[in-house]
């Protein structure tokens, strides 16, 4: 009971989601079965969305769920199913490769953790109490920001910042067009005619 009373719920949920995220990420790394990898990835990304919720970015979190988990992972599953053949096990890499990778990865992790923990201000918590979640309202601000109006910067003194010069209309438009092009391109690539070497030795025979 004592513990419950002093428990910081925010920390509890953070730890829960962080553990899930990292755990399933590691699961992805060490899993050999591609379907399991995709499944773990889903869970990892879903937990990560939980972290986003916790960090006061519910819109990004929901976006993560919708696009990553609902879209990308389904796409991955598609890829898995369309390219599946029996012997995934043959796609293991040699033990030596694992060792080198783990060493380099460990170094990288050490490097990143050092960098993350070095800065003092990143380690000092915010002094006020955590704001209640219900007050967080982000969708409108983000939408306005994407259309070039920074309602969150209205209090700033720099007129350039206030006027919406810091908005993201142009990147938003660029990225929209980019997305469209990518979708068209992906659809095109996925159904281009394929030249496959046929058994008869004629390399140009068309198999559609």
């Amino acid at each position: 009971m004592m513990l419950l009373a002093t428990l910081d719920w925010y920390s509890l949920f953070f730890l829960l989601f962080a553990l899930l995220t990292c755990g399933f990420a590691v699961g992805v790394l060490f899993s050999d079965n591609i379907v399991h990898m995709a499944f773990y990835l889903t869970l990892s990304l879903g937990s990560c969305a939980g972290l986003f919720f916790l960090a006061g970015a519910p819109f990004v979190g929901a976006m993560q769920l919708m696009i990553y988990v609902g879209g990308t992972v389904v796409l991955l599953a598609f890829g898995v199913m369309l390219t599946a053949n029996a012997n995934f096990s043959s796609l293991r890499i040699p033990r030596g490769g694992w060792v080198v990778s783990l060493i380099v990865g460990g170094l990288l992790l050490v490097l990143l953790l050092t960098a993350a923990l070095r800065v003092e201000s990143w380690r000092t918590p915010r002094d006020e109490a955590v704001l209640p979640l219900a007050e967080v309202q982000t969708a409108t601000v983000l939408g306005a920001g994407l259309t070039g109006v920074r309602v969150d910067k209205l209090h700033e003194d720099d007129p350039v910042t206030r006027r919406g010069m810091s908005g993201y209309l142009l990147p938003f438009v660029i990225i929209s067009v980019h997305l469209l092009v990518v979708l068209v391109g992906a659809a095109y690539m996925a159904r281009t005619r394929i030249y496959r070497r046929s058994a008869s030795g004629n390399p140009r025979s068309r198999t559609g």
Partner: protein, 865 residues
Amino acid sequence: MDTSLLPILLGVAVLLPLASFFTLLMIGRWLPQSWSGYIATTAIVTAGLLSFWSLSIWLFNHAPEAGSHQTAEHVASGQMPSVHARLVAQHDQPDGPAPATIPGQEPSPEVASHSPEAASHSPEAASQSPEAEHTSAEHGGKKHAYTDDYYLLGQFGRLRLTISYYIDSLTLVMFCVVSIIASCIHFYSMGYMHEEEGVFTDPEVTMKDGSLLKRPGRYWVFFMYLSLFCFSMLGLLLAGNVAMVFVFWELVGICSYFLIGFYVERKSASNAANKAFIVNRIGDFGMIIGLMALWTGLGTLAFGDVDASGNGTIEKAEQGIFTQVRSEESGYCLATPIGMVRQSARGEVGKWARQHPEAAVNGDTAELDKRLRQLQSERISDGKTPYGYWLLIIAGVGIFCGCVGKSAQFPLHVWLPDAMEGPTPVSALVHSATMVAAGVYLVGRFYPVFTPEVLFVIAIIGVFTLFMAATIAITATDIKRVLAYSTISQLGYMMMALGLGGWLAGMLHLVTHAFFKSLLLMCSGSVIHAVHTNEMPEMGGLRKKMPYTAYTMLVGCLAISGVCLPFLIGFSGYYSKDMILEQAFSFRGANAGWLGSLFFVTATGGAAITAFYMFRLWFMTFAGSPRNEHRYSHAYESPKTIYVPLVILAVFATAVAWHIPFVSVSLQGLLEQARPTGTAATVTSSMLGMTWPNEHIAHLDSQWWTIKFPVTMLATGTALGGILLAAVLYGFGVVNPDDVRRRFNLIYRFLINKWWFDELYDVLFVKPLHQISHVVSRIDQRWIDGLIDGLAWSVRWFARTWERVVDQGLVDGVVNVVGRWTYSIGASLRVVQTGSLRQYVMFLAIALIAIFLIVSFFWSPTLAF
């Protein structure tokens, strides 16, 4: 009903045919064939409705007031308004505010002698300043022309290129005429061209294997061209500046080229199209010279004063051509504009600039202008031609050159008869409302710019053309060619009238002729449609088979002959032709001697000949007994789409020049409103020693017995005489035409060969040109080719040597060495490119770590730890 609507309405009316053209151009090929006809017809009919709307707006705002022609004829002399008198009197004043700025203009005794009544009214008129006269001449202070820019295309120094409009009653009348006739022709074409709707078999083109040419019908192409033609003509009418005029002028030319050569597979058609185009180019060359002369001297392209600043004040730089040529301070008399003076008095300008360097630098030309004016008046008082006057003459003659080409005047008339190769509706359009009318219209439009000398040239050309063409028409047997020569002749009448100072007469004849000539041509088309031949000797007696065509054509013949009940009522041709003859007679009165009489005599004789050949045509075609039974038996009345337009046009050909009872609206009154300011004046050319009488003089009541009565009686008499002769020869067969032909064999040969014009041109221009070309080609092949071959050989030799020594030795060596280095470096680096994705990722990670470590240890240790 505001006049500000006019430019919008007319602009839309111009653009509608263009829209139709583009529609057909883009999708006409795929539309059902009949649709293209509907589209084009809808466009032109709508344009016509808009034109009439505009006309009604105009009439609402500019009711023709008493004092214009028709009232002058009918009002008793005691109530005669003083406009005529004032117009005459004003130029009678030697010491008016603007004394004799016209070169060589002196008070003319002829004018005084022609206007005794005017003299009696002159006391009160004399006290009026020219401004007061001007405002009253401009119909109660209302603007007689609207001009402005639709759109400024660009400004290049002084040159303003704009899309602008110039709207006066002439524009509106011409709009209505063109759109009525074009609408009729569109309807007519829908019937006439129906063979083009499916696969068209061309009866006149034989393929190599002996079969007739079969091709997909070009119904939509035809209507597309018609639309473009209408657009060009309407645009020409609306154009508010010279540049636009030229553009539309050329568009009209190219449209006629397309349409005359519509049956492009026929050799004769494509030749005729080429001929029309090339002959027109000759005229247009002169026109460009004229336009450039105008632009050089006046510095503007616009007709009227364009309010460029948009604040109601007219900037000096934007004074239009008309204002500059007939400026207010010169009393609206033709005066050499100061720009032209400056252009030609370069010596004086240079002298002035040396004396006043600061003003020259500042571009302050007011002083200079004053000096130039002074010089000019000195020269005028010395009796010399003032500075720049020749420039004005060149401009006038140049512009008239263009009109000669378009309106088929001698010596460029040769294209028009050949243009009959086009489909008949096209001929009708070309001959009445569009192409040839453009020339006359332009002369009328540029009338204020023409000096008496230019007018004389116009008159001479016109009178010669009218006679020559009329005589040729006598012997022609091709029904359409008769009409073609008739057109040339009638155009000659118009030109002559304009050249003799009869602006209103010329313009009126343009309108009336448009109606009856389109009627006649479409009737002939109907006949051709029925009998499938153009040759009149194979027709005859068709009256019973095709009554509508016969009687509408009879109306046309009566109209062109100017038949009337004298002084009471007549067909439209009566009014216009009479007016022309009256002006010629008036001119004869003002200028003694054979030259003065030549015009009247020739014109009257021409009228007789006209009546003769028109009725010859009618009798040969419709009267008597059939000469070719086969063709007669297959003849039939044309469908409704063909004869209904004929009936409509017949009504117009009869009544267009009538004075509508109880309303003061008539065609003459309307046209009179558009008369360029200051042109209703008696002018004299000292250079030629001739006088151009004021057009109003011929219609003064005081002159009724001396001009109107004799001329009318004479004209009626000659017309009836011509008709009678035709009836005697062809109608009743009293005299056998063949006997006549044998008796006048020499003249007959002369006429049937069209005065040997084509042969003459062949000998004069074509043959020598061929000879010269031949010689030039020999020089080209022998000498120039040899020289060039030699040059080429030496260059090749040099290039070979250069290649061996420099290129292969030096350049290739360097490039090869560099290439070898690059290759060896690349070969040693390729080991790294294992193609293994995983390895690359490891490289990346290791590099990241390495960079971080290097930076932190060797560069800035505080960054890491």
